[in-house]
Every structure is written in structure tokens, then in C-alpha cells.
């Protein structure tokens, strides 16, 4: 298959204009001994053959819509995506455009992302949102960068709850290896029963940032108001990693006083897609806007007096600040920010509240039924949203294997990340799980416990 629209005659005419004899003559600057390597790759397929090959590969997978019942969450959630979302994403005007550097001919992208920013600030209660980051984990790492820049390197300690997503904590560690940070609280062997107040004693005058998750990795809903007050008393900033579906129902991070609210917006209209691309949202207070990484869209007027939108505060960015930039980011997740904006718009206030409520109701029904089975129980007693930790009578990996034989993904086995939770599964329930699916899970586990 080729996508080159040039005929041999046209090619020859063009070569003549350039003043060379053949295409190969264009590459004299390339060292001869390495020029034109023979690439050992499979021969080219036609579109029809490629379509069939890719179908075959996709069909080798077992997926959570056609083959299996799934209660897997842990940072990626199986939600319904209204048909409209993908219809809008498939508009070539959106998906084949570049970053909106030329605002006169990019108002579609610019206004859509401005609206995305507005939806995120209204959801979190925060004052500003950027145009998005790669994913929830990297958005959290950018919160660390912001805090580091805010204190100009004078404070170097982060206090991080062990109940922040384990992969997010890993990413922060990767990102910050040049900063010489001191970490506290990030200990997977700590007592996981204690609430957020356990972090308070770790916060001191050298703390730049406290990172907590809401609901936490185990699904628990904490009110962080007191912790945030304590952190502010020491002059530290607080970042909350929030689940956007939960925010539709729960008290906003802004009401608790958070300085930065980040998270993974995949639940808002983005398919599971085996882990990506997803959408990291980043919201904060207006006073930190100059330290915030990432794209930012602002309202203005054009020279015809029309309301319009532009990329603004661009001198914060790497192409001007170069090595002094807070971050090297030069893209956002434009198309996926659009996806989540369309998702929020088309469900609207009512539809979104229904999604949150269904998640909550079904998760609580599942938790109630599961904890009735002999040997099973809920690990924690705090309120939860749509995810909870199920304590099993044997190692979680064995339970999951048994469930998989019955066509069920039981949930995420916690033992690898938390040594004390070897027998524990993190179960996620969304509006996609019917009562019948939940009852099937319960039945299969009952059978197992009788074996």
C-alpha cells in the first residue's frame, strides 16, 4: 500500500527542477557505508490484508465486553461511552489537526479545550485547569514539579500516602530522580488501616507537597479537610489524586482546601484500550498558574471583535524558557480532552449523576453479597465509592485463577504491591456490571469456598 500521490512522470519532472538525476542522488550527505540499509521487515500488505491481520490479533485477546465479566479497576475503569463521543472524535477536522498554534484556523480545537478546562474546574471546584497531561500518573508527577518550582527547591520533602496508586508513586520516583527529594509516608508495609491523620506527624517545615488519593487506592472515601489544614499550617501544598466519576457525587477537593487536584479522566469517555492513551487532568488555584506545566487556553477577542480563544501564557513553556522551563511538555492529550468534554456534555448533569449513582449502588450491593460468603469479608470499614478490598480465605492469585476459569476477572490482586494484603482483591464495580454478573461472581466464589 502506498499513500504517495506522485506519478513517475511527475517525479521525473520534479527531479529535473531540483537538478538531480534520481531519488537516490538526494542523499549524498549520508555516509556511504551506511546509506540505504536493507531492512529485514515483513513485505508490505494491502489495506485488505492489514485489516484482516489486525482483526486476527485483536481476536486473540479476551475482552471485557464480549468474553469476560470484569471487576478490574485499579486506575482504569470499564464505563459506557455514548455513541456520540466517537462520532465526534472521528471528525477529520479534529483528529487530523495539529496543536492550535494558528488560532485563526483552530478555533474548533481551542474552544473545545477551553470548555474541557471549564468542565474540569466545575467538577473539582478548582480555579484553573490546564489542557491535560499524558495520564493520571504523569499529572501527579507534574504536581510534584509545580511544588518544587513554587518553593524554588528550598523545600525538598514530599509526604505521600501509601494508598496513592502504586504505579503513580513509581512514576513520581522516576520523574524526581534529579531533584534530590526526601520522601516520607510512601511505605507499602505501613499500617493501612489508619486514616489520613497518620500523615500529619510526617509534615514539617521542609515539606513542599502532600499527596493523597480520593477515593484512595482501596476505594475508601476520606475527608481530608483536617489533613490539609495541618499541611497548610506548615506551609506545604496538598495534591489530591481524584477519580472523576466519584467527584460527581462526593464533596469537592476544593471544599476540603486542596491546592492541586489531578487524576485520570479515562472513566470519562475513553476506552480501556489496554492502558492508553488516557487523559491526565490537572487543576489548581489561580495563584499557581505560572508554575503549572502544560497547555493553557484563554479567552480573548479577535481583531473583528469576536470572542475567541488562544493558547496563553506560552512563555512558561519549553520552547521559550528552554532549560528553565518547569516541564518539557509540549503536547496535551487534545483529542481525548475533547472525548471527555463530549462525554460530559452529552450525559449532562443528570446522566453523569446517574452513572455515579449506579456505580455506588452496584458496588455496595456486590460488597454486601460477597461479604456474606463464608471466609470472605470486607477489609476496611470506611465508606467507599465503587471499589473495595475483598478479603479472601486464600491467596488472591488463586482466587482470581479460579474465577478466570469461570470467565470472570475478579479484580486486582493486591499482594504484589502490599505484602500484608496477599489474600486481598481490589474489586471495582461500574454501571456496566449487571446484577446478574454480580450474582454470578458471588455464586462462583460460594462454590469455591465449599470446595
Amino acid at each position: 500500500m502506498t499513500y504517495i500521490p506522485i506519478s513517475p512522470n511527475e517525479r521525473d519532472a520534479m527531479l529535473q527542477t531540483v537538478g538531480v538525476k534520481s531519488l537516490d542522488d538526494l542523499f549524498d550527505a549520508v555516509p556511504k557505508k551506511h546509506r540505504f540499509p536493507e531492512l529485514d521487515l515483513p513485505p508490505a500488505l494491502t489495506e485488505m490484508e492489514a485489516a484482516s491481520l489486525l482483526s486476527e490479533m485483536a481476536n486473540t485477546n479476551e475482552n471485557v465486553r464480549e468474553h469476560l465479566i470484569s471487576f478490574l479497576g485499579a486506575g482504569a475503569y470499564n464505563h459506557y461511552v455514548p455513541s456520540v463521543v466517537d462520532h465526534m472524535l472521528r471528525r477529520g477536522e479534529f483528529y487530523t489537526a495539529y496543536t492550535p498554534y494558528q488560532p485563526e484556523i483552530s478555533q474548533g480545537t481551542l474552544q473545545a479545550i477551553f470548555e474541557y478546562q471549564s468542565l474540569m474546574t466545575n467538577l473539582t471546584g478548582m480555579e484553573v485547569s490546564n489542557a491535560s497531561h499524558y495520564d493520571g500518573a504523569t499529572a501527579t508527577a507534574e504536581a510534584v514539579n509545580l511544588a518544587f518550582a513554587q518553593f524554588r527547591g528550598k523545600r525538598k520533602k514530599i509526604v505521600m500516602s501509601p494508598t496513592v496508586h502504586p504505579q503513580y508513586r513509581e512514576v513520581i520516583r522516576t520523574y524526581s530522580q534529579g531533584m534530590g527529594l526526601e520522601e516520607a509516608g510512601n511505605d507499602a508495609t505501613a499500617d493501612l488501616e489508619v486514616g489520613p491523620e497518620a500523615l500529619t506527624s510526617l509534615i514539617d517545615e521542609s515539606t513542599m507537597l502532600v499527596v493523597v488519593q480520593y477515593p484512595d487506592f482501596f476505594g475508601r472515601i476520606h475527608d481530608y479537610t483536617k489533613l490539609i489544614e495541618d499541611a497548610h499550617a506548615k506551609g506545604a501544598l496538598v495534591c489530591m489524586v481524584a477519580n472523576p466519576t466519584a467527584l460527581l457525587m462526593l464533596k469537592t477537593p476544593a471544599e476540603m482546601g486542596a491546592d492541586i487536584v489531578v487524576g485520570e479522566a479515562q472513566p470519562f469517555g475513553i476506552p480501556l484500550w489496554y492502558g492508553g492513551p488516557y487523559l491526565g487532568f490537572f487543576t489548581t488555584k489561580k495563584s499557581y498558574v505560572h508554575k503549572m506545566a502544560g497547555r493553557l487556553i484563554g479567552e480573548t477577542v479577535d481583531n473583528r471583535g469576536q470572542r475567541a480563544y488562544v493558547l496563553t501564557l506560552t512563555s512558561r513553556e519549553q520552547h521559550i524558557k528552554r532549560e528553565r522551563a518547569t516541564s518539557n511538555i509540549c503536547t496535551n492529550q487534545g483529542l481525548l480532552a475533547l472525548a471527555s468534554a463530549v462525554y460530559m456534555s452529552v450525559l449532562g448533569k443528570t446522566g453523569l449523576q446517574q452513572v455515579a449513582n449506579l456505580c455506588y449502588q452496584k458496588a455496595h450491593y456486590a460488597a454486601g453479597e460477597l461479604s456474606k460468603i463464608d471466609g470472605f469479608g470486607l477489609c476496611f470499614s470506611e465508606p467507599f465509592f465503587h471499589e473495595f478490598v475483598l478479603c479472601c480465605p486464600k491467596p488472591a492469585s488463586e482466587v482470581n485463577e479460579y474465577l478466570l476459569e469461570h470467565g470472570i476477572f475478579g479484580g486486582y490482586a493486591l499482594g504484589n504491591d502490599y505484602p500484608s494484603l496477599e489474600n486481598h482483591i481490589l474489586v471495582a464495580v461500574t454501571e456496566m456490571n449487571s446484577k446478574r454478573e454480580i450474582d454470578t461472581l458471588v455464586e462462583v466464589l460460594k462454590e469455591m469456598s465449599h470446595e
Binding site: L313, S315, R316, K321
Partner: protein, 125 residues
Amino acid sequence: MNTPSNLKYTKSDEWFDPASGAAGITDFAQSQLSDIVFVELLVDEGEDVTVGNAIASVESVKASAEIYAPAAGKVSAVNKGLSDKPETLNSDPFGEGWMIKIEGGSAGEVMDSTEYEKYCEGRTH
């Protein structure tokens, strides 16, 4: 271009008033940066600065710059109102746009106004 003769100037386009200890950015610098939209002062009252320390960070619509201390000494005052009105740097860089005052400031390598004017001319081509 305005270059008051009572002031001293640095190669990185700061001015320093030996009489009052005040320092800021020059008219030439503000015109090169164009519309300034953000100023952050990086030092506090009572801090000691040495020549070349970053004292402020400035962003315009098309550029960003660090501003360095033209003299060494103790910071006796900072212009706190500046961050709310960054455009002051464009409209009145030598007056309302002062950034900090340095007590007992001993200037580093500086030029007088005639030398500085020549230095600027050399860079506009």
C-alpha cells in the same frame, strides 16, 4: 529609548540607582520583551544578594527573562505591588517599575548611560 543619566546599567539590561539603591529593568529590556504579563520577585526583604543573583522572573507574551541583581548588599525593600500590575514595567520601568532596593549596594560591572546607549544600539541591528 530612555536612559536616565543618574543611573548605572548592566550588560543584562538591569539599572541600578547608586543614590537610592533601587534596581529594575531598562526601557530597552521592556521594549524587547514587549507586553509583560507576569512578574515574580524572587527575593524577600532582609535577604542578602550578590551581583548576578536572580532577583525576579518576568514573562511577556512572547518571551521570558530572569532579572539579576546589579549590585550586592541587603535587600531593604521589594516592590510588592508589581506582581498585580506587571504592565507597569512597560509603562514606567525606571519609576513605578522598580523591583528591589539594595542597602549599601556595591555595584558590579556597570556602564553609564552613554555607554549603555551605545551598547543597545549595537544590538538592534
